[in-house]
Amino acid sequence: MRALDGVSLEVRRGEVYGLLGPNGSGKTTLIRMLVGLVAPDAGEVTVLGARMPDLAVLGRIGYMTQAAALYTDLSVEENVRFFAAVTGAEKNVAEAIDIVELSDRRDSVVSTLSGGMRQRASLACALVHQPQLLLLDEPTVGIDPQLRVQFWEYFRTLTAAGATIIVSSHVMDEAERCDRLGLIRSGHLLAEGSVDDLRRQAGVDRLEDAFLKLSAGPAA
């Protein structure tokens, strides 16, 4: 079975690109491919001008996995400081923790934090070295709506500063916040464009209907 088949997409600098698709559609595989953890059987992956995997480019990428991958026996600050040290960005530690609003919990051991706080700490680890490209694999899964709004505020702050964000999601209201979207199902890229583009393409008013209509196409 192929996790991805014939996917070809381009992401523009400074935009928030959403990968929208149901669970198991290949979003995570695509993101792992972008960081060079999976090699495509055919074709190539170019990130920030270099073919992946490329160590220099990895230093300019921030990657946040689906589950908050943190050292649960370390404090928030120790975690962020570790990932900062790996990318040579120790001076940004306080700022990164501040962005995700965990300054008052910086000394808390991760295992004592709530799921939402862990997710925020994980984001801080991904953005501490001020990456030009941020890859976020379902960053808002399992966090409450209020925090989700906050996350999107962080994302917009980052893109305003020139960063590009690729975010995967299976939640429609989140997808609507992206500049452009790629609809993925069963490893195929079904449609691509802004929310308006997709709605127009499908001839419907709601993104959800557009998604259902477009994904009922030939790939199904």
Partner: protein, 363 residues
């Protein structure tokens, strides 16, 4: 107490075992393998200790006892002259030799049976076998009672003051450090895999060599502190016999610890859960405990097992530690040089293996 609820738990456990065939296989197969190994080790017709017989007796009694001794099944005795026997003892090819001095017959007639027994002295098992065989041969050759048997025992290394702890302690220092460091590293590195942080590290500019060396330094540091503690305790609290340089012992133990760290990283690839990592104990540790010469000298094992023993890293650490602590060897000793080189080679091999498991692009 509700039987249905109790059975629900039991059934769930059995279902989980069905999914984890490896644990099940280990549970059933490992004890048989370990017992079979032990059985073969102890009853597999292992080579009996090599013993030299030197007969300088001017009378007939020495020759009679020597004949008995050559027939003994406890030791494999062969006749030789004294310089050859001394060489054999020093080279470790002989566990000991029996010398019947020129006045052996003369004194036997006076009622005192006084052979000399020269022992290599660093291995308790063969030493006991030699003394036992000599006693047996004396009884076989001299049926008459009323004589006093007074063998004079000489030790090349160690001496009569060495007890089991002295023999085992030297080797156990290596085993303890190897075992604990291996378990801690493999579980800790496995956690890095299961909690997703390794994936995250792979998406940073970290090179795999940097990860391996970082781990090696971190765990190595803890392992070194552990080694120092173990050494201080064995030397100054247990007063285990040591004739060699403490620095050399430390180098041997440190090499072993570095090897164990990297073996742990390498083998953690083959485990999905911490539970499975613990299963490496019977697979990796148990055979080494039996076959590395800690309890049973490698030279007394059945020959096929000796080949196996000779590829186990712990074997060389055990040799090396005994070489230093019981024989007082230093770096000019060839045997110790070999042990150190093998330790280095093992460490280098597992470092390479550990680094190889951290290849990027592995799904």
């Amino acid at each position: 107490m509700n039987g249905r609820r109790v059975l629900a738990i039991t059934r769930r456990l059995l279902q989980q075992f069905r999914r984890d065939r490896r644990t099940l296989a280990l549970l059933f197969v490992a004890p048989l393998v370990i017992l079979a190994l032990l059985g073969y080790l102890l009853r597999g017709g292992g080579s009996s200790p090599a013993v030299g017989v030197v007969n300088e007796d001017s009378g007939p009694v020495g020759g009679a006892v020597a004949t008995q001794l050559l027939k003994s099944s406890k030791v494999s005795a062969s006749q030789m002259d004294r310089p050859t026997a001394d060489d054999g003892l020093r080279a470790g090819t002989l566990a000991g030799y029996v010398l019947f001095p020129a006045d052996f017959s003369l004194r036997a007639r006076q009622g005192v049976i006084a052979p000399e027994i020269h022992l290599e002295g660093t291995q308790p098992g063969p030493a006991a076998a030699v003394v036992g065989a000599v006693t047996g041969a004396l009884q076989g050759a001299l049926a008459s009672s009323g004589t006093r048997v007074a063998p004079k025992v000489f030790y090349l290394h160690g001496g009569p003051n060495l007890d089991s702890l002295d023999y085992l302690g030297a080797a156990l220092i290596g085993l303890i450090v190897f075992f604990l460091v291996f378990i801690v590293t493999s579980v800790s590195f496995l956690r890095e895999r299961t909690q997703g942080t390794l994936e995250r590290l792979m998406a940073t500019p970290l090179r795999r060599g940097e990860i391996v060396i970082g781990y090696m330094l971190g765990f190595g540091l803890v392992a070194l502190v552990q080694s120092v503690l173990v050494l201080l305790f064995t030397l100054y609290v247990l007063h285990i016999h040591n004739q060699g340089g403490v620095g050399l012992i430390f180098v041997l133990v440190a090499l072993l610890a570095v090897g164990a760290v990297n073996l742990g990283i390498f083998l953690s690839v083959f485990a999905r859960t911490e539970f499975q990592a613990v299963q490496f104990i019977p697979l990796v540790i148990a055979p080494q405990v039996l076959l590395s010469g800690i309890f049973f000298p490698v030279t007394s094992e059945p020959v096929p097992l000796q080949y196996l023993s000779n590829v186990l890293p712990l074997t060389y650490a055990v040799y090396g530690l005994r070489e230093v602590m019981l024989k007082g060897s230093d770096l000019s000793t060839t045997a110790l040089q070999v042990d150190l080189l093998v330790g280095l080679a093992f460490a280098a091999l597992v470092i390479a293996l550990a680094a190889a498991t951290l290849r990027r692009r592995v799904a």
